[in-house]
Subunit: 276 residues, 2 copies
Amino acid sequence: MTPVSSWKSFGGELAVFDHDSAVCGGSMRFAVYTPPQAKNGPVPVLWYLSGLTCNWSNVMEKSGLQRAASAHGVMIIAPDTSPRGTDVPDDEAYDLGQGAGFYLTATLPPWSQHFRMDEYITSELPALISKRFPADMERQGIFGHSMGGHGALTLHLKHPELYHSVSAFSPIVAPSQVPWGQKAFTAYLGEDRNAWAQYDACALVRACPSKAHILIDQGEADQFLAQELKPELFEQACANAGQTLTLRRQPGYDHSYYFISSFMDDHIAHHADQLG
Amino acid sequence: MTPVSSWKSFGGELAVFDHDSAVCGGSMRFAVYTPPQAKNGPVPVLWYLSGLTCNWSNVMEKSGLQRAASAHGVMIIAPDTSPRGTDVPDDEAYDLGQGAGFYLTATLPPWSQHFRMDEYITSELPALISKRFPADMERQGIFGHSMGGHGALTLHLKHPELYHSVSAFSPIVAPSQVPWGQKAFTAYLGEDRNAWAQYDACALVRACPSKAHILIDQGEADQFLAQELKPELFEQACANAGQTLTLRRQPGYDHSYYFISSFMDDHIAHHADQLG
């Protein structure tokens, strides 16, 4: 684990590291915000998964989440959204390849060698975090934005024993039914839609709802709302499955970090409350 | 005034505009955050002046100030740090020319035609704001970072009747005595140091302290502290002049927006309190 940079922030520390990932087959970069309370012992851990094209810096620079993380004493981990580098396959489009890992294990070449973001997030990186940071791994939560909201919902539903709290900003909830997801899943997983269901929040919640209370904020002026996000599909799936969901439609807000930052306090409070 | 973009943020609106500036002789861009309270009538106005290289976006994207501005019902204006464009003179260095206006009226060529940021900030832009926004121009405050802290302190001390509250993050307080200021003042104003004093916060406060309570936060791990910032010079000048100053030295903090955001709430509260 190689330190890249660090800053004091709201009494805690934001630090960025590179490390060699066996799962992704190369160097990966991530950021950790450690709140001041961690001086006194392990603190709950909240995983923030970013959206298409993003890396650790978007949320750490633009969401203002350090303020609430410091107030509630929660550690925040911000991984990258895919493997990156000249050895890693890529695509010219912003929504496939580097920056667009979709938090899954790709089974098709050329992606299958590096693109295993679900195992990276749920297993390899937590092992490193638990060894090197004052993190209480019994109290983990997960949240994210857009593609990262998809990641948070699906990883929570598949690993409720790992993530005891979950929330999302403008998540992709039904990737099998929208262009972003269909394009990525076809490239990473192939044409067989049975393989897609394990990475589709609507399908997962129908099959196996969790005991958590899911919080979602969605801007009503989001430019991706009608074609890519379709929160009503998840709302219906949760209702059918008996999954507790609070879906808040926020008038006038778009898909940007100006939207995310406006409701970040509520999300951190939601996780801090559920993680105790 | 041409709208460039806008976002809903913390119940208010962040909007970016271009306009033709007669003072600066070209197009200038600025941002305005209008808090939700402005629906009910004019609100206090707080001017944020940015540091070297920055434009409106740094503070609006990275400081998280919309949250406190919304809570306190304060409008925030973020002007650019200089005229810009292909018709505007520039220098290869980051600390002279475009992005480095130093909030003064340049008297030497090639700068004197466009570089008149003090008149732009104190006169031309406020006239536009008062005409087009629900701004209570009787309740204006000013703050800024680094070169923008210099701008805030000097413009307040020269125009206490305009700016009833003032604060700064890691300001340049004695430009006549440090490399950044000496380089810029020599280029913009010439070798005569008498012309520099009107743009030097230490000199101004010695000549004419204000009735305001000045708040300054300064990171002790700031990489520019010893050579460019020297807050002890301003502390001494204020003590000698009877100027009320709270200078807070913050251990471990650097010059970045991670520092600024950590103390932004205190600054907005300081201004809201003083502006009533």
